[in-house]
């Protein structure tokens, strides 16, 4: 089967993000960008399904600026077979991304779309579920285990109370959680090979999808700061402070 993997280019998880001076967004100049960590897990899972003989082809898709090409090259180096960049200089909302992915799914006809459970910039946690609804497909979100067998997928999900397993008819949507796998690093020979793999570019306008924003960000501000605390020297002092100063025990 064919698998489509959606990957987003985001500010690297190790960067200390700062709000910009005019409170319209965050500083992006000279900031390290990387593949969204949950998308790395999605690529890894697709590659493992291919290694198991379950998947036959992996198509990586990213919607973003020209530089998202680098992120797609990483996916190709990790094992994707081809890549599609849908070029957009504006950061699109999840609904618009889901509509774009839907139009690509209709063209590529994958049996499974793998996405991250959330982008670590917008923290939306929406796109996979939205795509599922637009396609009328079932979904296994926050996956920590995926088994494909007999035209069906069994997905174990990380939920607030523990773990839940659902069975999905294919085609289906799977979104990844942290425990699904540990992504590999791309080897140098594979990075070289990835340069020759096909990477198609499409302009958003050519897809004929409505991507007009539905929301306006009026302001981006710093969170309230916590006041500096103190160090205690002993357990007895800690217990005393908690009882008599903070009065929380």
């Amino acid at each position: 089967m064919k698998i489509l993997v959606a990957i987003k280019r985001v500010i690297d998880a190790n960067v200390k993000v700062r709000v910009n001076s005019d409170n319209t967004g965050v500083e992006t100049a000279n900031v390290k960008m990387s593949m969204n960590p949950f998308c790395e897990i999605a690529v890894e899972e697709a590659v493992r399904l291919k290694e198991q003989g379950v998947a036959s082809e992996i198509v990586a898709v990213s919607i973003g600026p020209q530089q998202a090409q680098e992120t797609l090259r990483t996916a190709l180096a990790l094992g994707a077979d081809k890549a599609i960049l849908v070029k957009s200089d504006n950061d699109l909302e999840s609904l618009a991304v889901a509509k774009i992915l839907k139009s690509l799914v209709e063209k590529e006809e994958p049996q499974m779309v793998l996405l991250g459970k959330q982008s670590i910039d917008g923290d939306n946690n929406q796109t996979g579920q939205m795509l599922g609804a637009l396609l009328g497909w079932g979904q296994g979100t926050f996956a920590s285990e995926v088994k494909v067998d007999d035209g069906k997928a069994q997905v174990t999900r990380e939920i607030d109370g523990g773990l839940q397993t659902v069975e999905l008819g294919l085609p289906a949507i799977v979104t990844t959680d942290l425990r699904l796998n540990e992504p590999r690093f791309a080897s140098l020979p594979n990075i070289m090979k990835a340069k020759r793999k096909p990477l198609e570019e499409i302009a958003v306008v050519d897809l004929g999808v409505d991507v007009a924003p539905r929301t306006e960000t009026l302001k981006v501000a710093n969170p309230p700061a916590r006041s500096e605390g103190i160090k205690v020297e002993t357990v007895a002092e800690l217990v005393d402070k908690l009882k008599n100063e903070a009065k929380v025990i």
Partner: protein, 309 residues
């Protein structure tokens, strides 16, 4: 204008997140109606009918709602969505699972994880692991929203007397079927509603060593949480994880033991009222948010603390 809240519950009773979501709904203009979809969930409906500010409870009872699959909830909520200006659910794994499906089919850009209601169309929500707070205005005619529980105080559980009305259930979508669940059973309070939390990180070294923290938790009537590293290492189950991509908590007292304080962990606990950090590395970033820091070997001081309490 009327707001629909979709209740989170286990058929027998509502979760605390339902009452914080109702609190957010009550800040919007118009009435608050609560949908209880489930199986044999009448007791939940009766419980919610008593909550402050609830005008009506509607109940859809069917066998296929026992586990509240997203595909089934999507169909049910869409079938009644015309009557509502706002659709709200908790920003828990329950709410996050189905609300985007509803939003997409209503052609609405959902606003996730709100922590504040500024007006009927403008909300605040943390982004970038809580490093920034965005004020977002929705221009969609309907709003689909998930509510972060730590942003709102739960409504009073008594005093209300809303009517309860049955509505017809939708069909089972069939694209997804429930297979099973492995839920963590614990006598301790639930993480997201506990007033004291004791959390352990990679520094705990093993699952067995977490017993020390459990003893401490039991002395304090606390819940036990963990960092991602402790969960990944298999010390504790996944549902213990606190952070950007785990649970968001804001107890009266949060005690972080052997946790370095990575931004993704802080995102889940830095709104706690009092934070205690116990770490042997005085440079650990957790001390920057701690009200009381103790630089020490946890294997020495946790037993001492258990002794002292």
């Amino acid at each position: 204008m009327t707001t629909l809240v979709i209740a989170e519950h286990n058929n027998e009773q509502a979760q605390a997140s339902t009452f914080t979501t109702i609190a957010a709904a009550n800040q919007l203009s118009g009435d608050t109606v609560v949908l209880v979809a489930g199986h044999n969930c009448q007791s939940t409906a009766e419980q919610i009918a008593k909550a402050e500010g609830v005008a009506k409870v509607i109940v859809a009872d069917a066998e296929h709602y026992a586990h509240l699959l997203a595909e089934d909830l999507e169909k049910l909520v869409l079938s009644i969505a015309d009557d509502y200006s706002h659709i709200l659910a908790p920003a828990s794994t329950f709410g996050k699972n189905f609300t985007p499906r509803v939003a997409a089919l209503l052609d609405v850009q959902q606003i996730s994880d709100i922590t504040k209601v500024n007006s009927d169309d403008t909300f605040e929500r943390p982004v970038y692991a809580g490093n920034a707070i965005a004020t977002v205005k929705s221009n969609d005619s309907k709003k689909v929203i998930t509510v972060r529980s730590t942003g709102f105080d739960a409504v009073a559980l008594e005093g209300g007397s809303a009517s309860i009305e049955a509505i017809s259930a939708g069909e089972h979508a069939g694209t997804s079927n429930y297979v099973g669940e492995e839920l963590t059973v614990s006598e301790r309070p639930e993480l997201t509603s506990a007033s004291v939390i004791v959390s352990g990180g990679r520094g705990m070294g093993s699952g067995e060593n977490f017993e020390m923290l459990e003893t401490l938790a039991d002395k304090l009537g606390a819940a036990v949480g963990a960092s991602r590293a402790a969960v990944d290492a298999g010390f504790v189950p996944n549902d213990y994880q606190v952070g950007q991509t785990g649970k968001i908590v804001a107890p009266e007292l949060y005690i972080a033991v052997g946790i370095s304080g990575a931004i993704q962990h802080l995102a889940g606990m830095k709104d706690s009222k009092v934070i205690v950090a116990i770490n042997k590395d005085e440079e650990a970033p957790i001390f920057q948010v701690a009200d009381y820091g103790l630089v020490a070997d946890l294997f020495k001081v946790i037993p001492e603390l258990n002794e002292a309490l």
